[in-house]
Symmetry: C2
Subunit: 203 residues, 2 copies
DNA sequence: CAGCGACGTTAATGACCGTTAACTCGCTCC
DNA sequence: GGAGCGAGTTAACGGTCATTAACGTCGCTG
C-alpha cells in the first residue's frame, strides 16, 4: 500500500523529477548529477534505486504506455452496456486521454520524443503497448463510424493523438483557456475531427 | 542562382543530412563524425562550412520557422481578392502546412523537439517567427469564425498544428493512406476541428 | 610556375558524463 | 550490543565527443 500513498517513495520522487528534466532538456541533455540534485541526493546515489539512467527512461516510458492502455481497456470494459455504447465509449476514451495529456505533460512529451533512446527489448515493449492502444481506439472509431475504412481510421486516430497531445507545446506565453475550458475545447476538437474524417471526401 | 539549383551545395547537403540524423536520434544523440560521414567527409571537415554543431541546428530551425512564416504571408497576400477570401485563405494555409509536414518530416520533427538546445538569441528568434506564424493563423481563423474568442482560437490553432504535424510519428508499420489521400484526410480533419471549435460548447 | 584559397585529412586536447569502487552512517532485529 | 543492511558520500576510471591544430592537396589565377 506504500507506492500509491500520497507521500512519494524515493523511487517515485526520482522518476517524477527525471521525467520533468528529460522533458525539458532531452534524455542526453540531463546528467545523473542533475537528477540526483533534484531529489536532494547527489549523482551516483541514484544507483541504489535504478540500474542506470537508461532504466529510468525505460520505466517511465513503459509506465506511460501501460497506463494509457490499461485506462483505455478499463473504459472499454465499463462500456459493455446501453445501446449508444460506442458513442459514449469514444467520449470516454477522449476524456481519459485528455486528462492524461493535461495532468502529465512531461510524460506525454517523453512518450513521443525519447522512444528511440531505449534498449531494443524495451522499445519493442513500448511500441507494442502503443499499438494496442491505437488499435483499441481504431475499433471504437469504426464502431461509431462504420463507413470509415481501416487505414483511414488509423491515420485519423494518430492525428487526433497529435491534437490532444499538443498542450505541452504551448505552455509559455499569452492568454490561454484554463484547464477545464481547455479539456472541453480539446474534446470538441477531437469529436469534430472524427466527424470530418467520417464524411467521406471522395471528391 | 546556385543555392536554389537542383544540385545541392555542400552546405545544403550537410544541412539536409544533419536534419535527418537529428530527427532520428536527437541533437545530442548524433556526433559530428556521423554527420560528416553522411555527406562523405569526415568529422572536423564540417568546420569549414559551419561554426559548430550548434550553428547547424540553429540554421535549420530558423530556416524552418522562417519558411513557414514566409509561405503563410505569401498566401495571405495572394488572398487579397474575392468575397469568400477568408475561407479560401484558411484552406490555403492548411494546404501549405500539410505540404510542409508531409514533404519535410525531419524538419517538422526538429521544429518542436530541439528548440531548447539553441543559444538564447537564436531561440528567441525562432520563437518570434513561430509566434508570428501562429498569430497569422489566429487572425484568419477568427475571420472565418467571428464567434471565436481569441484564447480559444489560439489554443485551437496549436491543436491543429499538433494534428497536422502528427504524420512523422507514424511512419513505420502497417497500411497507411498514400501521400495524396493523407493530405486530403488531414485537410478534412483540420477543417472539422475548426468547425467544431466554432460551435460554442457552453453546455 | 608561384602562390593562394577552398576544402579535407589525421592527431591531439579538454571537457563532460555514466558508471563503479570503497567507505560511512544510522537503523533494526536477534 | 553488535551483525547486517539500506541509503548515501566522495574519488576515480574510461569512454565519448566537440573543437582545435597542424598539415596536405587540389585548381585556379596572375
Amino acid at each position: 500500500m506504500s507506492t500509491t500513498s500520497a507521500a512519494l517513495t524515493r523511487r517515485e520522487q526520482i522518476l517524477k523529477e527525471a521525467a520533468r528534466l528529460f522533458a525539458e532538456r532531452g534524455f542526453h541533455g540531463v546528467g545523473v548529477d542533475e537528477i540526483g540534485a533534484a531529489v536532494g541526493i547527489s549523482g551516483p546515489g541514484l544507483y541504489r534505486h535504478f540500474a542506470g539512467k537508461d532504466a529510468m527512461l525505460a520505466e517511465l516510458l513503459v509506465g506511460i504506455s501501460g497506463r494509457l492502455l490499461t485506462g483505455g481497456k478499463r473504459r472499454a470494459a465499463e462500456a459493455r452496456s446501453g445501446g449508444d455504447a460506442a458513442e459514449a465509449l469514444l467520449d470516454s476514451l477522449i476524456e481519459g486521454h485528455i486528462d492524461f495529456a493535461l495532468d502529465d505533460r512531461p510524460l506525454i512529451t517523453l512518450h513521443d520524443r525519447e522512444l528511440d533512446r531505449l534498449r531494443d527489448s524495451d522499445r519493442k515493449l513500448v511500441r507494442q503497448l502503443q499499438r494496442q492502444y491505437v488499435e483499441l481506439w481504431v475499433e471504437v472509431v469504426r464502431d461509431v463510424y462504420p463507413a470509415m475504412v481501416e487505414p483511414e481510421a488509423r491515420a485519423t486516430v494518430h492525428a487526433v493523438f497529435g491534437l490532444l497531445n499538443s498542450t505541452p507545446h504551448l505552455s509559455r506565453p499569452g492568454p490561454l483557456p484554463g484547464r477545464n475550458a481547455m479539456a472541453r475545447l480539446l474534446h470538441r476538437l477531437a469529436r469534430g475531427a472524427f466527424a470530418a474524417a467520417a464524411s467521406n471526401g471522395a471528391a
